[in-house]
């Protein structure tokens, strides 16, 4: 289900828009960062306090009858993506002074300035047969000019939400200077039943909760799915045999196979290496848990730690050279970094309490973790040397952070307390702002964010 990207060239003399195919089947992921305006239309995500930037997204223009139902829906998804970041604030349509009557017409900047829309996104949709085509432009209202070139995406009609997410990714990217994260998916554990007889199955959805699909049934307990670097496979732990073992599942076919089985041992907490060829995981043998790697084909197991303490929850650095993990070798759970081939580990967490589930950011700059202290759980981030620890959340039970593909947002599971307690997914900025529930049909835990889709 690939989506094609083309550039639009604006023919200024006539005001008509001519679509010129520049490249086909190019992913947003593979593009170099679009030019960023140096003007006022700019958000620095890392700023401590942000006044959300007001934007307007009028319904896109339907260029033919078949496009009618998508013209509005696509604009709504774009608006929801942007507003959902907390960095942008949508100006509702009933405040508009004038609408957009034609995608090709010049923009009446004054009308958008009046309502303080700093960014304006316009678009047009056409549909024929099984395919949909979406053109869009971003305008910097206060400088009175377009922000970057017009672009168009085409794909199958069924992928209209993805197209909308790609549009929003480009808008986000042009205004923040960061790559986006909207055209991405989340694999998680969908939970049903009471706390003492939970049924769990793997599920996958768009990052915003749409398009849920179940990847396994609930006949066996499943835990902690993790995406491959290309998003096409998922590693997870299943009790299919009665004992926890690491499995690899193909997302498209939902075919699965056990990674390796060694009688009398349990394997869990798997993650891919950045090149997708190696799996790092924990193996418990005789009550002792250590960290191992194995080829994704199931061969060549290598033991990386060898201590009587618990070593688990390993995560590779994005360059593949190091692994962060948790260990209770000091007497309680703390975070350590070691070379990817094993060897001497350096402790990086030194604050009060216990630290677990470390995950290296896709940008390489931070490590997210779960912290337990004084009866509360927190999701936090620290630099990879352990400095500048920052707690982003606090609750009865927060755990299991996963990074958005751009390393600016973290998703995690929050479980409520007591007999009727259940987990739900939440997201939060690395600044600690914009804590939001990610809506799922039922209880959900163990989220893992995919890379940007291609």
């Amino acid at each position: 289900m690939s989506i094609n990207l083309k550039k639009l060239i604006l023919e200024r003399s006539s005001g008509a828009v001519l679509a010129v195919m520049v490249m086909a089947a190019v992913s947003v992921f593979g593009l170099s960062r679009p030019a960023v305006a140096e003007g006022p239309l700019r958000i620095e995500i890392t700023d401590g306090v942000i006044e959300p930037l007001p934007f307007a997204v009028p319904d896109f223009q339907a260029e033919d009858g078949a496009a009618g139902e998508y013209a509005r829906s696509i604009a709504r998804v774009v608006a929801a993506d942007l507003a959902g970041t907390g960095l942008f604030r949508e100006i509702p349509a009933d405040a508009f002074v004038s609408g957009v009557t034609s995608f090709a017409s010049p923009v009446a900047y004054a009308d958008w300035k009046t309502i303080n829309a700093q960014a304006l996104i316009t678009g047009a949709v056409s549909a024929s047969g099984d395919s949909i085509n979406v053109k869009f432009r971003v305008y910097d209202v206060f400088s009175g000019q377009p922000l970057g070139e017009g672009l168009q995406f085409s794909g199958s009609i069924g992928s209209w939400r993805r197209v909308a997410h790609k549009v929003a990714d480009i808008v986000y990217s042009r205004i923040t200077g960061e790559s986006g994260y909207f055209d991405s998916r989340v694999v998680f554990v969908a939970e049903t039943g009471p706390k003492n007889a939970k049924r769990k199955r793997l599920a996958i959805m768009d990052y915003d909760g749409a398009n849920v699909q179940y990847l396994t049934d609930s006949s066996a307990l499943v835990l902690a799915p993790r995406f491959s670097p290309t998003g096409d496979r998922v590693l997870y732990t299943s009790y299919e045999t009665g004992f926890p073992q690491v499995y690899v599942l193909d997302v498209a076919t939902v075919g699965r196979q056990v990674l390796s089985q060694q009688q009398g041992t349990m394997t869990f907490a798997p993650r891919f290496s950045p090149d997708g060829r190696t799996v790092v995981y924990s193996l418990s043998d005789g009550g002792n848990t250590d960290i191992y790697t194995m080829d994704i084909s199931g061969g060549n197991p290598r033991r990386l730690t060898s201590a009587p303490s618990i070593e688990t929850a390993p995560s590779f650095s994005p360059d593949g050279s190091q692994i962060v993990f948790e260990s209770d070798r000091s007497g309680n759970q703390q975070l350590y970094v070691m070379p990817a081939g094993g060897g001497e580990a350096t402790r990086i967490s030194f604050g009060q309490g216990r630290y677990g589930t470390p995950v290296w950011s896709p940008r390489g700059d931070l490590i997210a973790f779960t912290k337990q202290n004084a009866g509360r759980f927190h999701i936090g981030v620290m630099r990879t040397d352990g400095s500048e620890e920052r707690l982003l959340t606090a609750s009865f039970l927060d755990e299991g952070p996963t990074w958005a593909p751009n390393g600016r947002v973290i998703m995690f599971a929050r479980e409520s307390q007591g007999a009727t307690g259940a987990p739900a997914l939440y997201s939060v900025d690395i600044s600690g702002r914009n804590l939001r529930r990610v809506v799922t049909e039922g209880a959900a835990s163990d989220p893992a964010w995919s890379p940007l889709l291609k």
């Binding site: 902690a224 926890p244 009550g287 309680n332 299991g400 007591g418 007999a419 307690g421």
Partner: protein, 168 residues
Amino acid sequence: MKRFAMATLVVGALALSACSKDRLGDEYGTAGLGGDFVAGSPSDPKSPAYFQQTIGDRVLFAIDQSSLSPEGADLLTKQAAWLMENTAYTAVIEGHADEQGTREYNLALGARRASAVQNFLIERGVAPNRLQTVSYGKERPLEICSTELCYAKNRRAVTVLAAGAATS
């Protein structure tokens, strides 16, 4: 009487679920509901019910610990003696943790607890090939409140009998 009512329900559920495993517990392999149907009478020393209810099938652990208490060791001494007498059974020892902890750590902690019980039973003479271990971490709590009252019962290792002699 509540226990018998629950047992009836579980029997019904087992019959419906066509459980393929020959385990004497519920379909999760967890003697977690406190009223699982187990064959025989608690007063018949040769029955699994006697093992589960009269001797006791579980030991409890302190917070974040996997060492056996003196009471736990006494109980396991009796489990060992029963297993030595009743060689037609094997056992899977399930290690569990309370919900105060991360998922992976609790799996590892449950593995330590199950292993502590396994090692004790082997030291008391039970053949190693009759004992397997599995950790459920915090996945299968027995009690569902979020206080120490429940947590104390959830930090457990349960010896679940299975019919059939050792295969390896």
